[in-house]
């Protein structure tokens, strides 16, 4: 286990209280808190380095460009990208997936073609493909999940028989915590001739990711879910694929020469980064990666799995609680319901004890339908959580049970 109390000392927000209680932040799958080092990196950028990148001839602008490109290199090393120019900065996972659907998808998916997604995909890895398929007259095939919340491999095999043009799936499910066998799914999809996009929103913050090992074609990640600032993120892709793709957004920075009626485009990765980029976001994300690697991704993953196991054990002891998702191969996400107490009521009651959990459909409505629930409550752990947080969750749930008449007050 990590020394979470020591880690918490690095996070200013976690020092504050909620409703008179120590804050117990268990909504890390939604977003994470930021360490002082990230806040300092952003402030330092604006105090010492701010200028527009890739265009100024003066030293300040050169330093800003260097900071931005150094951040790109940092992200590339973190996930073992094919090349730094294969890292396109985006607003986050959602924009990265929209970029692939809007550029690669539009150029390569036609009428009658198939795109494959899974029933555990977040709306951000579903809706862009729905839009593409509707526009192109292509069909979207959703792969079913097993009862315990894994990708149903036999249904996956049947979907691949359609020789899809694109296969997209999450490495880790945001709603269930399932860790999918991403390398295996990629290998099977490649054998069927598909390009593969891995939604890395929930994997990048929590386990060691090596995109070359996965051998996927596209990998999307969000900075704010891994201690970085909101509005930061990246698409990591094979440079050869990116090079052949048409631009996504038009504007400054992404062009080479512009005439009245047409333009030629800049080199990678700039071709996909129209407009002034979020430099502070990139710099903050690089600082977040430094922090995470300082602790160690393997240790973080082990810490979260330990906490999730402890939480599942604690919740299982409360009569009326149902925990969703697989028993093994899971990350630090625990989705549950408690009798007929609606998850929103649970979230309100837990909030009074300073316990922050998510309640709702987790942007995964097709999955909720398959679980036959309208919503679940979700506790998700990170490196700054500890067993006391698990205990606080359990105690607060007992209080909710008392209010709703499940356990004696």
């Amino acid at each position: 286990m990590l020394d979470a109390a020591r880690i918490r000392a690095d996070f200013p927000l976690l020092q504050q209280q909620e409703h008179g209680h120590r804050i117990v932040y268990l909504d890390n799958a939604a977003t994470t808190q930021k360490p002082q080092a990230v806040l300092d990196a952003i402030a330092d950028y604006y105090h010492t380095t701010n200028a527009n990148v890739h265009r100024g001839a003066y030293d300040l602008a050169i330093r800003a460009t260097e900071a931005y490109e150094a951040a790109r290199g940092r992200v590339a090393r973190f996930v073992n990208a094919w090349a730094p120019e294969g890292v396109v900065f985006t607003r986050g996972t959602t924009e990265a997936i929209n970029l692939v659907a809007g550029s690669y998808g539009r150029a390569n998916v036609g009428p009658g073609d198939t795109v494959v997604v899974t029933a555990m995909d977040h709306h951000s890895n579903l809706v862009p493909w729905q839009i593409l398929c509707q526009e192109k007259g292509a069909s979207l095939r959703m792969v079913e999940i097993t009862e315990d919340g894994r990708v149903d491999l036999s249904d996956y095999g049947r979907a691949l028989e359609r020789r899809p043009k694109v296969v997209a799936f999450p490495y880790v499910s945001n709603a269930l915590g399932t860790v999918n066998p991403a390398a295996q799914l990629t290998r099977l999809a490649h054998a069927a001739g598909a390009a593969v996009l891995v939604d890395g929103a929930q994997s990048t913050p929590h386990l060691r990711v090596d995109v070359r090992d996965l051998d996927c074609d596209f990998y999307a990640l969000s900075g704010h879910k891994m201690l970085g600032p909101m509005g930061s993120g990246a698409l990591v892709a094979k440079p050869g694929l990116l090079d052949a793709m048409p631009p996504y957004h038009g504007g400054g920075e992404m062009i080479s020469r512009v005439w009245d009626d047409h333009s030629t485009y800049n080199q990678l990765p700039h071709k996909f980064e129209a407009g002034t980029p979020n430099v502070e976001g990139a710099v903050g994300l690089a600082a977040a990666i430094d922090y995470l690697e300082g602790v160690g991704l393997d240790r973080i993953a082990e810490h979260e799995v330990t906490l999730a196991r402890a939480a599942i054990e604690q919740l299982s002891q409360i009569e009326g609680v149902t925990v969703y998702g697989p028993r093994d191969h899971r990350a630090g996400v625990v989705s549950f319901t408690y009798g007929d107490i609606h998850p929103h009521d649970l979230a309100t009651i837990l909030d009074q004890d300073g316990v922050c959990i998510r309640a709702g459909h987790h942007c995964a409505q097709p999955l909720m339908r398959r679980l036959n629930v309208a919503a679940t409550a979700r506790a998700s752990f990170y490196l700054y959580n500890d067993r006391d947080d698990v205990a606080a969750l359990g105690a607060s749930l007992v209080k909710a049970g008392a209010l709703f008449g499940y356990v004696p007050a």
Binding site: Q16, H19, D340, I341, H344, D345, Q352, F404
Partner: protein, 147 residues
């Protein structure tokens, strides 16, 4: 540092009467031939309500609802059907305004007997994110009348 709002009592939010309406909703079901109907949901949290009215001569002679959601939204729907049944539409819309006022902390509205069991929901006003739950059935009623 505590920047959160002072702690409101949970017992005020989850009164027995609210849980009773949540677990034994009144007028839950479907009307065969409603004159007005509307389905409304709260995309943020997924609360759903499907409301059907039988309006004759400007009076709500009958109504039913189907719904899924938190105790506040479903109890509010059940309570609402009780107080607007057999009432003229104009009264029902005036009650919608009283309900909205109560949700925004109007203590006079919270004592208005015309709101019936709905007065048990006065405590919701201290939980701003839950106000939309209590008003969902009323917004459905207003939409249904407009349709």
């Amino acid at each position: 540092m505590d920047t959160s709002r002072p702690e409101p009592p949970l017992s005020e939010l989850y009164q027995e009467l609210i849980l009773d309406h949540y677990r034994r909703p009144r007028n839950k079901g479907v009307l065969e031939h409603p004159t007005h109907s509307v389905a409304l949901n709260n995309p943020l949290c997924g609360d759903e309500i499907d409301l059907q009215l039988q309006v004759e001569g400007g009076v709500i002679t009958d109504l039913r609802f189907l719904g899924r959601g938190c105790s506040i939204s479903q109890a509010a729907a059940s309570m609402m059907t009780q107080v607007v049944k057999q009432r003229p539409l104009s009264d029902a819309l005036a009650l919608a305004d009283r309900m909205s006022a109560m949700m925004h902390g109007d203590e006079g509205a919270a004592k208005d007997k015309a709101l019936g069991d709905l007065r048990a929901l006065a405590g919701v006003s201290k939980f701003p994110v839950r106000v939309k739950c209590a008003l969902l059935p009323w917004n459905a009623l207003k939409d249904a009348v407009k349709s």
